[in-house]
Symmetry: C2
Subunit: 345 residues, 2 copies
Amino acid sequence: MTTMAGSDDDPPDEFGLIAELFAPLAAGYPGALGLTDDAAFIAASPGFDTVATMDTMVAGVHFLPDDPPDLIARKLVRVNLSDLAAKGAEPAFLMLAAAFPHGTSRSWLRGFAAGLRQDLDHYGVVLIGGDTVATPGPLCLTLTALGRVVAGKGLLRSGAQPGHQIWVSGSLGDAALGLRAIGGALPALDPCHGAALAERYRLPHPRTGLGPRLLGLASAGMDISDGLVQDLGHICRASRVTAEIDATLMPLSAAAAAAVSADQSLLALVLTGGDDYELLFTAPPEAAAAILAAAEAVQVPVARIGHVADADGEAAPVTVRGAGGQVLAMEYGGWRHFCPPVQGG
Amino acid sequence: MTTMAGSDDDPPDEFGLIAELFAPLAAGYPGALGLTDDAAFIAASPGFDTVATMDTMVAGVHFLPDDPPDLIARKLVRVNLSDLAAKGAEPAFLMLAAAFPHGTSRSWLRGFAAGLRQDLDHYGVVLIGGDTVATPGPLCLTLTALGRVVAGKGLLRSGAQPGHQIWVSGSLGDAALGLRAIGGALPALDPCHGAALAERYRLPHPRTGLGPRLLGLASAGMDISDGLVQDLGHICRASRVTAEIDATLMPLSAAAAAAVSADQSLLALVLTGGDDYELLFTAPPEAAAAILAAAEAVQVPVARIGHVADADGEAAPVTVRGAGGQVLAMEYGGWRHFCPPVQGG
């Protein structure tokens, strides 16, 4: 194996990089073959479905180029695990494809690998393969996450039925407000609140404990990555229903509550901003007690924010009502990936 | 679902792109959920291992930015299927993560999707998920390919033993010579030969038929992507053996033979150039007849190019001998991914 001679700021070659930084992350799983083979081997789990998801993050689009490398790695892991959690799946394996800019320093790469290690350990998953290449462009990271769920029991977007309640985990809007705070757009905000929100932008908390506990209780589920209203619209379209939510029931962190209290227009950001990585799910009313108990067991708050209704022709799938019961018009449906990149820092 | 109104050169948004261009590629597999969910579901195949691989290609590094979009898509599919073939796996599922440059035109995207369609059909695989994002940088494409092989029977790099013969499929050096031809570095070459070599650079031919037929015959295998000598070195290190190959036994296409005949120094490119995507495998001599029969059955030529020997301390793992039996010194061990990007066109 090629050794990584050279100073901390010499970029290592591909094989040295894999051997020094990434192979240790695969040590726990024989089928990963120490990341020295062309592919990984995964034994079948009879009675279970494999759940497979894939997310890409590009510097300047999905994170800020000067974000710390360990947090970039951890965000990458977490956005993928959030998708698995939303399906009720237990995470198991990750594959990483990384296009590192020319001249990426060894110390940056070490920080990135350290962040990976931290979250692999935290979530009990193992790296089994991937690819590392150099790019003349910005850092471009793709993770494939594989999990498992009892065969046929995974949570889809398509099971919501009229009369079901709409739930979300955790708190909404923190990441979108955090990105504003990083960009200096919330100058009146208490600095501690600003820091708390920025932290939520940089490091989501996938609800890997809650997701699998929703199997048999929830009727549909997804994670909120593109904004509550847009993502709830996806559930509505997949389930051929509509949804009505009450803006006054949005679960807010103390920091987000302070921000919205000072500027009510920021409520739109809570409803449509992206990067929440909370679970959004529907369930029949009779499941409510069991859902609350499941959430209590994993210490993740959950909140009911509305209900599912019949499909209604050409009407918008999601209606948002304010404090007086009036319908709030959404300026936009949420984050769209072909919008201009984020500007922060 | 968002519609794709607009002219051919308006970039579509993410959801329109997926609905119009990529969802049809997932239509054959219910677990892909029409690419409208967060993840895909794959039923277990008891008695089989899942084989998982992932490769990234960046414009200007792994292909030329002005290569036709359908050929870029097909190369992406093929380099991944080549990894599965090298493990003896039957390909089944693909997941695509694509970071498209801002302003990528609809017609370019249609060409890309058409190329995907062509090779998905050709190889009998289905797209089950992925991610599409925008990037301010170059096109960056990652594919995860999942296949299957009888449990525990997959071909590894680590099974080569002294006395085993070394085999390759197809012909070597075409892609590396093709890249030179594209760049104008082989002006004396017959234009038809140049075009044939360029085609092999742009469109590899993964040996998906041959790979699974080598199970039970070959002792170790991989595909040649970084150059024969470097990749054979990987087998040697994984198997703790050395290898000796005979440069006069390299299987050459008519075009490559013409190029080497005109300039003997190009033989080094055959031995060390990348992008062959041929199978490199070892097997005991008694398997030779069955290997030739398997190759004949799928109409893929195979050639014996050397033999495996005992490990030899600090010596280089791969020895190349020329026509007179003399040892050829390799100027470099093969393509390294942290080298400067390709310059062509």
